[in-house]
Amino acid sequence: MDKIDAIVVGGGLAGLSAAYRLADAGKQVILLERGDAPGSKNVTGGRIYVDPIRSYLPDIIGSAPFERHVVREMITVLDESSAVAFEYGNEKWKHEPFMSYTVLRAKFDAWFADQVAAKGAFIISKKKVDDLLWEDGRVAGIRSGNEEIGAHVVIAADGALSFLAQKAGLRQPHKAENLAVAIKEIYQLDEGTIEQRFGLGSEEGAAGLYMGSVTGGLFGGGFLYTNRDTLSLGLVVGIGSLVCSDGGFDAPGLMEGFVNRPEVQRWVRGGELREYSAHVISEAGIGTVPKLCTGGMLVAGDAAGFALNLGLTVRGMEFAIASGVMAAETAVEALDGNDVSENFLSRYEKKLRESFVLPDMETFRNSREVLDRQRFFTVYPRFMCELFDELFTIGDKPKESLYRTAKRVAKKYVLNMETLKDLLAARKL
């Protein structure tokens, strides 16, 4: 079989980064994307942290069409009818280099694909990869419909579901407890309205997190990001939590309840709904990262389970870009040395260990286990809301001292063994 140097499956950030680097190194590379164009099947919550990845793709990160740089974090803790909100802003975030940006993937990925094509990679859209080709026990290309394309190296960047990693025997079928489903809505508002409503300067953005009763007490939370002239609003819920719940929740119903909360409506009111999307997210941390290579094949990005939810920060895109670049660098070395064996390609894992990708995943190995404690989504939000309710309420009876009030509410919710256990567990965060 005739073989080209490399095939990249999937036009997301991992795949585009890999193809960019391969083409930059002068290798023949074909990127296959099942959507109309790279980006058209991709969904993000909305924010990318650029510091970890600047050095991997300086030209891309330096000129990408991001939406707004984030200057403010908003956290809202909710019970059924009230909410406590915090904000953190820092003047330094208003000056370059900016730490994080909100982003819309259809736009960003399509632009990125143009840069990849300009480097000389071939991008073929509307092409779904159905299977892998094998030769002497190694991956030797792909099959799409009746068409077969041979390649010395295949980089599987086919997203969180990654059927290719499964077909290559690198991972087991997915389990519900390891993934969450995200539902997202895009609301259009004009730029001025967004800046006025959120108190932002031109180009500045805000990021919001919502936790507590918006998930009906299930693992997960809501998010809100300001884009240039749209808002990204979404809810993430653990699939395992949904499966095990008997609360009569369904995913779209939880989303509807979230959107209708006054704490959300205050931001999106008057906005026109433009898109309704959904995507799964790996939530299990390093525990479910598959084997990362086999002879002739490397796995990158979401397909490799590279995503990290620490509650306050949720990351995936940086891992995708960095792992895509490192997979490509490994492939370039393998092609140059004419050795695409599993043994040689395992250098990829070494590179990942020497970068931020695997160390970050390792450091926060237990974050899911800690965050998955139900009281974080039920008892503590209720405690906070009730405490503030009592502190702010002036009734017709003489008011109790503030300390007594706080102690009474704390006793009701948090001065117990369960809280102690949660605190002990939190040491692993």
């Binding site: 099942r34 959507g35 109309d36 980006g39 058209s40 099947k41 991709n42 969904v43 993000t44 819309l104 993937r105 259809a106 736009k107 990925d109 859209s125 509307k126 092409k127 779904k128 799409s144 419909g145 969180a160 579901l161 059927f163 997915h174 389990k175 519900a176 993934l179 489903v181 539902i183 809505e185 895009i186 749209t230 990204s232 699939i239 949904l242 499966v243 929740f249 369904d250 995913a251 779209p252 989303m255 509807e256 959107v259 209708n260 709904l273 433009r274 898109e275 309704y276 999307s277 959904a278 995507h279 799964v280």
Partner: protein
């Protein structure tokens, strides 16, 4: 007021294939009590046809998240991405 889920999905750009990319094994579905597919699908695409007693999935509105495949622990759901050219095309993402 907020829109119904089907009205929300109607806002998306979707090109539908004539054949479904999701198939259900009705003999497995018949013995299923949990019907997790109904609960987890963000598009609310799964329902029970009361007359035939069979589970129905409206593949045409699929958002391609794959949650049903993961949530159906009985293994009734056979799910692949729609073939190239078809399915949802996100304009924002």
């Amino acid at each position: 007021m907020t829109k119904k889920v089907e009205e929300k999905i109607a806002l998306n750009a979707i090109k539908n294939d004539t054949k479904s990319h999701i198939t259900l094994n009705q003999s497995i579905c018949a013995g299923c009590k949990e019907r997790m597919c109904v609960i987890v699908c963000p598009g609310h695409l799964y329902s029970l046809n009361e007359e035939t007693g069979e589970m129905v999935v409206e593949y045409a509105g699929c958002l391609e998240c794959g949650t049903c495949l993961i949530a159906c622990t009985h293994g009734s759901v056979t799910w692949d991405y729609p073939s190239g050219e078809y399915g949802v095309q996100y304009r924002f993402g």
